[in-house]
């Protein structure tokens, strides 16, 4: 693996700096920024796709970004097994370009929602989460189109293949509608692809890396150490 972390950013990305700060703080390395029109990405290391409103989120959140040259490269690398992490808008982009199952649609409340939520880690067999000791972590969410939708057939496939990674829960890990901030199917907050090298999640671990905002994000990034 390369000693490299890349952040792909688009016009309208706005969590790119926050992500870079978190990566620098936790992984002690400076991420490489790749602009959306990058048509040849060599040795990217881990690829991050940050939150924000790529291309204004016009048409549907994430869709316009999927047509950029950099995402074609992301797809190529994904097939080769490169670890890819999409957060918030990054998750939306990964579902729109079909690297991940399902779709992210308007929250049930129809409103943007910004708050801290608890997430139960559903699966620790995967390299994205196996080093996280806690069973439940607390990250902020900030989105209006974060309701994860998938039909029953594909939901079963996600379950059978252990692709569900995070679910919205209580502090103690209870899963119920009460703890579902956006109406996601089965409280799903994050999933991986079948090959388990592409992760998408709506909550923001990069917003939980200091004593003021909570420190649960640190374990998320530190856990990636062996991948780089």
């Amino acid at each position: 693996m390369n000693k490299e972390v890349s952040i792909i950013h688009f016009p309208g990305s706005n969590c790119d700096r926050d992500l870079a700060v978190a990566i620098k703080y936790c992984l002690k390395l400076k991420p490489k920024f790749l602009w959306h029109n990058e048509s040849h990405i060599k040795d990217p290391g881990i690829i991050f796709i940050p939150g924000g409103f790529s291309f204004g989120d016009y048409l549907r959140a994430g869709i316009l970004a999927t047509k950029s040259p950099a995402i074609k490269e992301v797809i190529r690398h994904a097939k080769k097994g490169v670890p890819i992490i999409g957060i918030c808008n990054g998750f939306q982009i990964l579902t729109e370009c079909k690297l991940l199952e399902g779709a992210l649609i308007k929250n049930s409340s129809q409103l943007f929602s910004c708050k801290k939520v608890f997430l139960r880690i559903e699966n620790k067999k995967n390299y994205f989460t196996k080093n996280i000791k806690k069973g439940v972590v607390q990250y902020p969410i900030a989105h209006s189109q974060g309701k994860f939708y998938v039909d029953d057939y594909n939901l079963k496939k996600l379950q059978d293949n252990d692709q569900i990674m995070f679910k919205y829960s209580s502090k103690t890990g209870d899963i119920s509608d009460k703890y579902n901030p956006n109406g996601s199917v089965q409280n799903i907050a994050g999933i991986v692809n079948k090959k388990k090298n592409v992760l998408g999640l709506m909550p923001h671990p990069e917003r939980a890396i200091d004593s003021f905002s909570g420190r649960d994000g640190i374990v998320f990034f530190n856990g990636l150490n062996e991948l780089i």
């Binding site: 048409l59 779709a103 129809q110 998938v150 039909d151």
Partner: protein, 76 residues
């Protein structure tokens, strides 16, 4: 040549916005309104004819998300 592409939610996908519109319509006194579903359309002007396949491609790859939406192309 102008084509109009209609995009709407697949049946079964809950659209709270349409639900809210329907409730308001009912409250306005139209108690016979049982369902409202909304969608959007795009008018696409082409310089040459017989490009229906291009329009289909644009609709499928960009204008709609097959996971949640259906589309329909109509010649204007």
């Amino acid at each position: 040549m102008i084509y109009r592409v209609y995009v709407e939610f697949k049946p079964g996908i809950l659209d709270p916005e349409s639900e809210a519109i329907k409730r308001t319509v009912n409250q306005l006194g139209f108690s016979n309104v049982e369902n409202i579903s909304k969608g959007k359309f795009f008018d696409i002007e082409l310089s040459s004819n017989n490009c229906l396949s291009d329009i289909e491609k644009i609709s499928k790859e960009l204008l709609s998300n097959p996971v949640i939406e259906n589309f329909k192309v109509v010649k204007k």
